[in-house]
């Protein structure tokens, strides 16, 4: 399988990365090189093989459903580019 310029632009938008025409053209070539490399996986007979979900056989750890942390609003927003009274500020989303 290979990707064309249109697909690259669509994927870039899905990934929320702005690409120029020039970027998209360069990426098309690079992505096709990588996709060409991974193509060889199709040679492998995987019939009856379960996909890996965890490298170590272990039971999912569960914790008690209780509050163990919190009251850290100022810590959470401390690194944000724009905040107001412990809220993240973003460009207007709804008109």
């Amino acid at each position: 399988m290979s990707v064309d310029l249109q697909t690259v632009k669509r994927v870039a938008h899905l990934a929320r990365i702005a690409v120029s025409e020039e970027d998209a053209e360069r990426m098309t070539g690079e992505l096709n090189t990588i996709l060409g490399f991974v193509e060889q996986l199709n040679e492998v007979d995987v019939s009856g093989v379960e996909p890996m979900t965890s490298v170590t056989p272990m039971e999912m750890k569960k914790r008690l459903d209780i509050v163990t942390d919190g009251n850290k609003a100022s810590d959470i927003v401390a690194n944000a580019p724009a905040t107001e009274e412990n809220f993240f500020l973003v460009p207007k989303v709804v008109e």
Partner: protein, 521 residues
């Protein structure tokens, strides 16, 4: 006073406990070495001098009271991927500009609890994506090792030492360093370069496809990627969560064992942290390997592998045999599929993990006409080329209609790769010996690698299988190539059997010796 920066961790530990030296002295020696070397090597992206001095002072107080921890007063460098409270933590990416977490990663918290001193944050490939440390927003790291040329000079008297060899005729061959700058490998290139150039006693690193073992091999240092689940991932910037593991890079096998003992823990905050006590890895060092079964996988003999590496592998086999190990030929038939499967699984997980860098919660924000425009512009400006490439691949293979063909197929192949190892271990093999890398360190801005991303990816061909199967792997320096560059051997063990790796790596180290670059910086 001898150069304190040249002490191994075990030597420094003994002298600190014996009150022959102080933590303040050794810390100061490292800070001075960094100040001199870093403008050239670019191993550190931030030096935390004041913090280091404060920590050293506290260590000296503890040592004076005889209350020192396992790493009391030992100065370490920390890869920029580890969250360190109030200190630069950016995974060497522009997108995390100015980020200083309000928390401490479990691994670094463990180190500080044991008394270690933080010298600063180490350079790395952006988000740990790279094999040369050239994708860092902070520029490439330089390897303290350089190629050299052998010259024959006639010696008036027979003399041995200072790196020279004496031949029968009394002529001495001496190495002349080349000026070309080499990469230290990646992604933990800053860690490897700093350890090798005596800019820290040891360093933390992380390994998703070979990022500890490949730079260790390129710099003549020891690096271990422990079993998946041995070190907590809590507070470490995530790249590919099912593959990422933290581990140390150190100057010798014993130091690596000392560091891993402190880094590893059982952590309720990481659900993949395995509930198993951390053994005393140092105790495994020096134990005989007589009767141990060492597997040699035929699939690791690849086309175009330099003769030096094949010869080194044979040497390693001979050393282990001499120490009483039983050498057996084994087959890991799915080896060649590990790298392509990795380049589906790792980018897929990365595309999901890196979705959080949106210009809202931390780091860089580039304004846009609306919120989507802001996201797209921020991510376009914040991520470097390699990171974008991997996010794009990951997004594509996970997108509607392609998931089964790529991601599901890769995860099935991953099961087969793991099964290969399980079969071999079930047949009684204790440890597997392979080369660590398919080449020695290469030049900065290598044109071949720059023009084809897959060429760069091939650096991880011998290491990536271990991540795919979640196993522990150690890279130990085993010799120099014809150009005088270090080469490493890799040992792969059963899950949670890091002790056998330290035990066996020590045998190789005893036979091969340790390697230091000639100082030019």
């Amino acid at each position: 006073m001898s150069d304190l920066t040249h002490l191994t961790i075990s030597e420094a530990r003994a002298r600190l406990r014996g009150k022959e030296i102080t933590a303040a002295e050794i810390t100061e020696a490292y800070l001075q070495a960094i100040e001199r070397a870093n403008p050239v090597l670019n191993a550190y992206v931030t030096v935390t001098g004041d913090k280091a001095r404060d920590m050293a002072k506290a260590s000296d107080a503890k040592l004076a009271r005889g209350e020192g921890g396992a790493l009391e007063g030992i100065p370490l460098g920390i890869k920029d991927l580890f969250g360190t409270k109030g200190v630069h933590t950016q995974a060497c990416s522009h997108v995390l500009d100015g980020f200083e977490p309000r928390y401490e990663s479990t691994v670094t918290a463990n180190l500080w609890a044991d008394g270690a001193v933080m010298l600063g944050k180490l350079n790395m490939d952006e988000f740990a994506m790279g094999s040369s440390n050239e994708t860092s927003y902070y520029g490439p790291v330089i390897n303290p090792w350089r190629r050299s040329r052998l010259d024959t000079v006639v010696m008036p008297t027979t003399h041995q030492g200072d790196g020279g060899f004496v031949s029968a005729g009394g002529a001495k061959t001496q190495r002349t360093l080349d000026n070309a700058q080499l990469v230290p490998g990646g992604s933990s290139g800053g860690s490897a370069s700093a350890v090798s150039a005596f800019l820290c006693a040891g360093a933390t690193a992380t390994d998703t496809g070979g990022s500890i073992r490949q730079p260790a091999a390129f710099t003549g240092t020891v690096g271990i990627k422990p079993t998946y689940g041995r070190c907590s991932r809590w507070g470490i910037v995530a790249f590919a969560s099912s593959l990422d593991q933290a581990g140390p890079i150190a100057r010798d096998v014993r130091d690596a064992a000392i560091l891993l003992k402190s880094m590893a823990s059982v952590d309720p905050r990481d659900t993949t942290s395995v509930d198993r006590p951390v053994p005393d890895y140092e105790a495994a060092i020096g134990k005989p390997i007589k009767g141990m079964k060492v597997g040699i996988p035929k699939e690791y003999r690849v086309d175009g592998m330099p003769q030096d590496i094949e010869a080194l592998w044979q040497k390693g086999i001979a050393w282990l045999k001499e120490a009483g190990a039983e050498i057996v030929d084994i087959s890991l038939p799915h080896t060649k599929y590990a790298l392509p499967a990795y380049y589906i699984v790792a980018p897929a997980e990365a595309s999901s993990n890196l979705a959080r860098y949106d210009g809202v919660r931390y780091g860089l924000r580039v304004p846009g006409k609306d919120i989507v425009d802001m996201y797209e512009k921020t991510r376009a400006a914040g991520f470097g080329r390699e990171v974008k490439r991997r996010i794009m691949i990951g997004t594509y293979v996970l997108s509607a209609g392609y998931y089964d063909a790529y991601y599901l197929q890769a995860q099935k192949v991953r099961t087969l790769i793991k099964r290969d190892f399980e079969n071999v271990f079930a047949a009684g093999v204790d440890v597997i010996l392979t080369p660590a890398t398919p080449s020695a360190a290469f030049g900065v801005a290598d044109e071949d690698m720059a023009s084809d991303p897959v060429k760069m990816y091939l650096n991880d061909i011998f290491t990536v299988t271990v991540n795919m199967a979640g196993l522990p792997g150690i890279s130990v320096p085993a010799g120099l190539d014809a150009k005088g560059l270090p080469l490493g051997l890799q040992l792969i063990g059963r899950p949670f059997d890091e002790e056998t790796l330290f035990q066996t790596a020590h045998v190789i180290e005893q036979a091969a010796g340790t390697f230091q670059p000639e100082k030019w910086w």
